[in-house]
Symmetry: C2
Subunit: 451 residues, 2 copies
């Protein structure tokens, strides 16, 4: 990756102003686009998706480590999704306090009872990392979370290398420009979807993108649609409400929506409670799960990506259950784990509470629910834990070691935002794609950078 | 080219609605962009450039004819630009009534007197056609005009084939989709500019895009900049005012702007009177023409593209002057000419007036000035000619046979415009690029579709 940009460039106000203009136009031309907050369902006026003027450097060794471990994460997620006892045990306490997980789990159980009508599973996940910077040490790769549903930005991040290469050239940094790697998660994600569609085996069936009510990030998804159309695979975009109104299962449990058979349901919605605006959304989720369509992901794989599962995996001996004869795999995965601690009722959870209250600045308190952005830090941890320490409410949280990435100076470009140097903390996201069929798991992986 | 779209598609309101959404997003993702009318110098919010939902069909024979004749037009323009007597004679009457042409001509004369300081000339022109549809005949290619300065849409039209292919696929017209040709004028125009830069022979010198005050169509130009940067050729964008403030000639007549030597001046401004907002613009034009920088185009090539020259070329015997031993070339060019008639004072012009008044619907009356959009038709021709018939004012116009293209039904997509079928009249534009140096003329040509 490109090294940090020297001060002579960062501090040259005239050059930066010119580069920012070039950068915005390059991002727009390369399709790094978003709809506006005020009109999330209109493409009449659009803007560039927020991005940094310069690329964020990642040490090569850490980058290769993240790629190498991705295949093991794919396998792990897939194994968890098939281990009913493990999921039940791991999520038992969460289900009691978190209605969202409870409803997902109920669907998961119903499907198990009925028997699955589709044995093919497509997984498209993204494992997110930060580079932990400890004194006197090299940076080390620490997983923040793994997203097993609706992992986004595979489309837009396919384009950012072109933008950054161009900017560095115009900045006179030709050598750095040439060190930026290619990146094409959109093609990789589409390859997974195409394979699932092909295995489903009906030429006229479609890949259905289950999309949100407000579609600001539609362009990220359009890249994947476009890759599928290049292979002559038809795609449709439907909301929960569309599927409720025009969807049904035929006697063979084929999913029909608006008159078309659905080969693959690709979830770009349904990952957080707010997505289920009414009971009909839940009816639709159940219908899709019961159907013959390949789900990306199926309900069990969705559950395998919850924060509670992530925390349980960090316990001693748990990873070994999934890789009994592969100590090296266990080791590779463990190296990416930050400390994760339960807040379940009982002595282990009590210990976590005490530890957090003693040194709150060492930790981050995370709600188990998906959706992000609600993490709790510092004195607020003390406040929250003092409130919930004695009640099962505390089970709704997970405690995690705080990761300390070294901030990197950069310019954040975002519509109408004033131009200023920021101290940026970046995440590195690695996509993984896999398909399970006939009990054989075919694995692929590919990389992106998120910021 | 794709054939017309069948009614079953054109009239399927639900399908069209879906296709339009897909089309707008595809155009945006492919970079078919424009800034907004309200903020022509901001890239915070942008829209798609106006385009048609479906491609416009062009018969293969006509298309190949337009490509074949382009090389001859390049040669013709270049020969005219070097024929001082011809230019003087052809433009004499225009100069008397049109101040803009007069000022250009004055610069042209001053350069001739001083002697040119740069022998390399780069021409990037675009010849525009319509397909004339006469009873019981095949469509025939008729030139509307040739633009020898600021010919635009080479960038955006490089992207429209991708958009139309995608739309036709989604519309279920796979076969038509596969018949859309590739198109990359941006690369061809950049090749010309790169060659000129290389011949100029200074690695640190830049290609300067002379741009308008309001830059709505910046993205069209960004494509060409991007192609140049790919070759590590630096580009800058400057307005007349920037060059006035920071530009100068050194003792060797090297053009320096904002501290950088300019290898090539690429005019994307300066083609119509309104572009010269004050006397300083004219000073700048003169300075650039006097400089060692390669001009695209130089002042003489600019003049070679005026409507008056086009009309004079249509007179019997004139083309032969430029191609004395090439009757086939003369024939090929002539086939693309519609009838063009002088309105100069004298018996020939009087004949034109009488002809136009007798059958006004057969003609179009064109002001000689550049800029487009001011053509006069039908009863208005009668009105205007009755006013000016006896005075030299009539010399400001050219009369041309009206071309009757067959309208094609299509949907015009334009920001916030209501969706409706339109009868579209399309133009076919063919780009030509050439460089003259050491008295050798190196010719290239390439094609686009404009609409």
């Amino acid at each position: 990756m490109a090294s940090s940009i020297p001060d002579e460039v960062m501090m040259d106000a005239a050059l930066i102003k010119e580069l920012v203009e070039v950068a915005k136009d390059a991002a727009l031309l390369q399709g790094v686009l978003m709809r506006t907050e005020e009109s999330p369902n209109s493409s009449e006026l659009v803007t560039y998706a927020p991005f940094t003027l310069f690329p964020s450097p990642v040490p090569k060794s850490v980058f290769l480590q993240a790629l190498a471990v991705q295949t093991h994460f794919n396998t792990l997620v897939d194994k968890i999704s098939q281990d009913m006892d493990f999921l039940q045990e791991a999520l038992a306490s969460t289900i009691e306090v978190d209605d969202f997980t409870a409803r997902l789990f109920k669907i998961h159980q119903q499907i198990l009872q009925e028997g699955r009508s589709q044995s093919i599973v497509l997984g498209l996940n993204r494992s997110d990392y930060m580079l932990d910077q400890r004194e006197d040490q090299n940076s080390s790769l620490k997983q923040i979370e793994i997203n097993t549903i609706s992992a986004s930005f595979g489309g837009l991040s396919s384009q950012t290398p072109h933008v950054h290469r161009h900017i560095l050239k115009v900045a006179g940094r030709l050598e750095e420009s040439q060190r930026i790697l290619d990146n094409n998660p959109a093609a990789g994600l589409a390859r997974g979807l195409a394979k699932a569609w092909e295995l489903y085996g009906s030429e006229r069936a479609v890949v259905m993108f289950l999309v949100e009510v407000d579609q600001r990030n539609i362009f990220d998804q359009r890249y994947i649609e476009s890759e599928l159309w290049k292979r002559n695979i038809p795609t449709v975009r439907k909301r929960f409400d569309d599927v409720y109104k025009t969807g049904s299962l035929d006697p063979d449990k084929r999913l029909l929506v608006d008159g078309k058979e659905v080969a693959v349901v690709y979830f770009r919605n349904g990952y957080m409670p707010q997505n289920y605006t009414n009971e009909q959304c839940w009816d639709v989720r159940l219908m899709m799960e019961r159907s013959q369509a390949v789900k990306c992901p199926d309900i069990s794989t969705h559950l395998a990506g919850t924060k509670k599962v992530q925390q349980v995996l960090a316990r001693p001996g748990v990873l070994e259950r999934f890789f009994p004869d592969q100590p090296q795999v266990v080791q590779q995965i463990k190296e990416t784990f930050a400390g994760l601690y339960t807040l379940d009722m009982g002595p282990e959870g009590d210990k976590t509470v005490a530890m957090a209250l003693a040194e709150p600045n060492r930790f981050v308190l995370k709600p188990q629910r998906e959706g992000g952005g609600n993490n709790i830090y510092g004195s607020e941890i003390v406040q929250v834990l003092k409130e919930v320490r004695g009640s099962p409410e505390r089970t709704a949280y997970i405690l995690m070691d705080k990761i300390n990435p070294a901030p990197i100076q950069n310019y954040l470009l975002r519509r109408d935002a004033p131009l200023a140097i920021s101290n940026c903390l970046s995440e590195l996201g690695v996509f993984g794609a896999y398909i399970r069929y006939n009990d054989v798991c075919s694995l692929q992986c590919m990389a992106i950078f998120t910021q």
